[in-house]
């Protein structure tokens, strides 16, 4: 009969989980290729230490001042700051740090209450929690230094506030863990996150235009915030400073109710996990009532002009684009940014004192679009994953793959530029014909010229990217460098030619020069395809190894 292990104590388990966190961090850094991460982490560590220590002093002196000056009501602001940091920082950190699914601990012999306590301890060992506890302790010292009589109330409030925050953070974390375990939700969440980050650009124009309407609305909403936990914590300390014990008890009771409600929800969440919640997203086998027979699509082939292989790659690329929610959503942004730029820098309806003429803005905006939309081409196999093997198993040369991929990119560029052109002509009007033609031919030159370089970069510096993931999503440094150098080179050539046109006062010179360059770029592109096919054959092992990880 085999030995059976004894029961591990809860403290031992908490210690083991803390040790696990530390080892995950340390082992993540031990890999040679992550040396830069280590340097980054050291810098981040120094920065974090300054942040925590510096703000601790800030909280100490702020609390001391507020209480000394009789403005104890303002302490709510400090509690709000801490609350927001505690709840939001872990969400951002989770996207970039080492991954650990807390529910995996359930395979060990834990009862539900142990699992719950370990979860709270795990939450307290988080950077944001430790930083917030430091700040709360600083506030306690500051309050005691200003008014020693508030110490008991401060201790009570801080204890409740810590309990409430750690419980809420774990509750939100466990729900996020559940939601993000599904691929579709994960991708949607990622796209929304990026969209919200990009949307920050809109704050300035929106507040400028609608600030007068939004301000009174915000002021009307402010009183409702006083019933939320940070305001209650502030109220409790303010009441203690005014020796109003009824107010202290009422506010603390409010905090206690919040803690109890969050704890109840967290307990229910963990109980569900403990009973064996199914988070898998793979297709489960289902009984088939009647055997399904596939229907053959008899619609006409819209890509019949292309070779079967190029058409297949083009279709596949289009499907990948529409299913990559982040890439698809980012296509909405260039026209929106064009609208914002035209609003900010030029136009008949702008209040700007020095509007930029369409003669300058049109080439500038088009250059911006090329810059943004060409970037993914430098690592065009990023999302193939193990599917890259399909290209090497198929009886074809790699030129067909590049043609299919490049064709889709050109179609996307054409659509984006068409939309932006329509937007610009609506807001500003079109530039003069020489500039218009010069810009269009310059686009052909810059885009087609870059395609050969981008294809070469994709073969030589591939880096796998996952759909809808933030963690570990980094392009190859060399690919980024090549993209930057190529954009700089082509942008520079275009700028010099446009400038030469102005200098010589020959308005059609840039258009003529760009037409010649565009023809050369197109010729060079087709000539490069066979050479790139040979490079692909030589580099196939590098590609497969990099993308099949």
């Amino acid at each position: 009969m085999a030995d059976v292990a004894g029961r591990a104590g809860i403290l031992t388990q908490v210690r083991l989980v803390a040790g696990l966190r530390w080892r995950m961090l340390r082992n993540g850094l031990r890999k040679e290729s992550r040396r830069l991460d280590l340097i980054g982490l050291i810098f981040a560590g120094i920065f974090s230490a300054f942040l925590v220590v510096g703000l601790s002093f800030g909280f100490f002196f702020g609390t001391y001042k507020f209480l000394s000056l009789g403005r104890s009501g303002w302490l709510s602001l400090f509690f709000w700051g801490i609350f927001v940091f505690w709840q939001f920082f872990p969400m951002f950190a989770a996207g970039f740090g080492a991954g650990f699914e807390f529910r995996t601990l359930l395979r060990f012999p834990l009862n539900l209450s142990s699992f719950y306590i370990i979860s709270l301890a795990y939450g307290l060992a988080d950077f944001s929690a430790l930083a917030c506890i430091c700040w709360l302790v600083s506030m306690t010292f500051g309050a005691t230094a200003a008014k020693p009589a508030v110490l008991p109330a401060m201790l009570l409030v801080v204890t409740l506030f810590v309990l409430l925050n750690v419980t809420l953070e774990r509750l939100v974390g466990s729900w996020l863990e559940r939601l993000l375990s599904r691929r579709r939700t994960r991708e949607l969440f990622f796209a929304l996150f990026i969209l919200s980050m990009v949307s920050l650009n809109l704050i300035e124009p929106v507040t400028r235009r609608y600030g007068a309407i939004l301000r009174p609305l915000g002021q009307r909403l402010l009183p409702y915030l006083s019933w939320l936990p940070p305001s209650l914590a502030g109220k409790a300390i303010a009441s203690a400073a005014q020796v109003h014990f009824g107010g202290v008890l009422l506010a603390c009771a409010g905090l206690l109710v919040y803690s109890a409600v969050f704890s109840g929800f967290l307990w229910m969440r963990y109980a569900k996990q403990y009973r064996g919640e199914e988070l898998s997203e793979t297709a489960a086998p289902t009984p088939i009532a009647a055997r399904t027979v596939s229907k053959v699509d008899e619609a006409p082939d819209h890509l019949s002009a292309l070779s079967p292989q190029v058409a297949a790659v083009l279709r596949k690329e289009f499907r990948y684009l529409t299913r990559n929610s982040f890439a698809f959503f980012t296509l909405i942004f260039p026209p929106i940014m064009v609208l914002i730029f035209s609003e900010m820098f030029a136009g008949r309806r702008t209040p700007s004192q020095h509007p930029v003429s369409p003669e300058m803005l049109f080439p500038g905006i088009m250059a911006y679009l090329v810059l943004i939309l060409m970037a993914p081409a430098y690592n065009c196999f990023a999302f193939e994953g193990r599917g890259i093997q399909a290209y090497f198993m198929a009886p074809l040369r790699f030129r067909e793959i590049f043609l299919g991929k490049n064709l889709l990119l050109l179609s996307v560029l054409a659509v984006e530029m068409g939309l932006s052109l329509a937007m610009l002509s609506w807001r500003l009007g079109l530039p003069s014909p020489p500039i218009f033609v010069a810009t269009l031919t310059a686009i052909v030159f810059a885009v087609v010229g870059q395609l050969s370089l981008a294809n070469w970069s994709s073969l030589n510096f591939p880096r796998k990217l996952e759909f809808g993931q933030m963690r570990g999503q980094r392009q190859s440094g060399m690919a980024v460098l090549i993209a930057f150098a190529a954009q700089f080179l082509f942008g520079g050539i275009c700028a010099v030619i446009l400038f030469a046109g102005r200098l010589t006062e020959n308005r059609w010179f840039p258009a003529e020069a760009f037409t010649l360059l565009a023809l050369a770029a197109v010729g060079g592109y087709f000539a490069s395809l066979d050479a790139l096919s040979r490079v692909a054959e030589k580099k196939k092992e590098t590609l497969i190894e990099a993308l099949c990880r």
């Binding site: 297709a283 027979v293 790659v313 092992e541």
Partner: protein, 262 residues
């Protein structure tokens, strides 16, 4: 004289100082169901990758259906089908879209591709989830789809790297039936598997690779005779395999060291 489907001469592949495959001479006749066996890390997948053009050999030659793979890669690939290690699926397509993609990549016309893709999905019982992405398929479903993709163009040689791994008994039965039919119509199948019972049941010929070297090759009867002489008529493939590969007693785990588990 029987046509030779696969013929390698001194085929080698080095990774740094490691000889993953060390000068192997393989000969597989057309229409054979050929099992390629070896312990973990012996060089099975490396050999398949070289034979299917996914990996370049360091030295040696490979002829498939009489064509040198190095000199005529496109012509050779047109006639072979592969289920590679990791399956090589494009996970953001649905099963039907993937089969249509592969069919077109092999140069089939659109109508043929669509008809065959639909038939294969029906046969593999994958047709009831037309909108499910491959990323959301179970492992077994992905395996079935990879096999469907490997046969859509009617290959003359089929390379299968662990085709039954993670496939349930029902699906495995259907796959075996399909492979049996392909053998009947003259397809050569080159298969690696760790499940020796499957290899013994399906394959007529076997080769064993160990530490990059080919240590045995022939029909099952020839291998049995080579190991035990006339008395070994009932020797199983597992016993043959262990006698060839596991001769070194030091490689065997010693159970007595785990006495606390008994």
């Amino acid at each position: 004289m029987q046509e030779i489907a696969i013929h390698t001469k001194k085929l080698s592949r080095k990774f740094g100082n490691l000889n993953a495959v060390d000068g192997i001479d393989l000969q597989v006749s057309a229409g054979q169901f050929f099992g390629f066996l070896g312990p973990n890390g012996a060089g099975k997948s490396t050999t398949i990758k070289m034979l299917t053009g996914l990996l370049a050999p360091t030295s040696g030659t490979m002829d498939l259906l009489g064509l040198d793979l190095g000199a005529h890669p496109v012509e050779v690939k047109r006639q072979i089908g592969v289920v590679p290690e990791g399956m090589g699926l494009l996970e953001r397509l649905t099963g039907l879209e993937y089969l249509q993609f592969v069919g077109r990549m092999y140069g089939l016309d659109r109508a043929t591709t669509q008809r065959r893709a639909a038939e294969l999905l029906d046969f593999m019982q994958l047709a009831d989830r037309p909108k499910t992405l491959i990323a959301d398929y179970s492992h077994g479903m992905q395996k079935k789809l990879a096999l469907a993709a490997a046969v859509i163009h009617g290959p003359r040689i089929l390379f299968l790297d662990e085709p039954f791994e993670g496939v349930d008994a029902l699906a495995a039965g259907a796959l075996k039936a399909l492979l049996g039919r392909m053998i009947e119509r003259g397809t050569t199948i080159f298969l690696t598997s760790h499940v020796l019972e499957i290899v013994e049941r399906l394959c007529s010929h076997v080769a064993i690779i160990h530490k990059g070297r080919l240590v045995a090759q022939g029909s099952l009867e020839e291998l049995r005779a080579g190991i035990s002489g006339a008395a070994g008529g009932k020797t199983t493939l597992e016993e043959i395999f262990l006698s060839i590969v596991g001769q070194d007693g030091a490689e065997r785990p010693r159970l007595e060291e785990l006495s606390w588990l008994m």
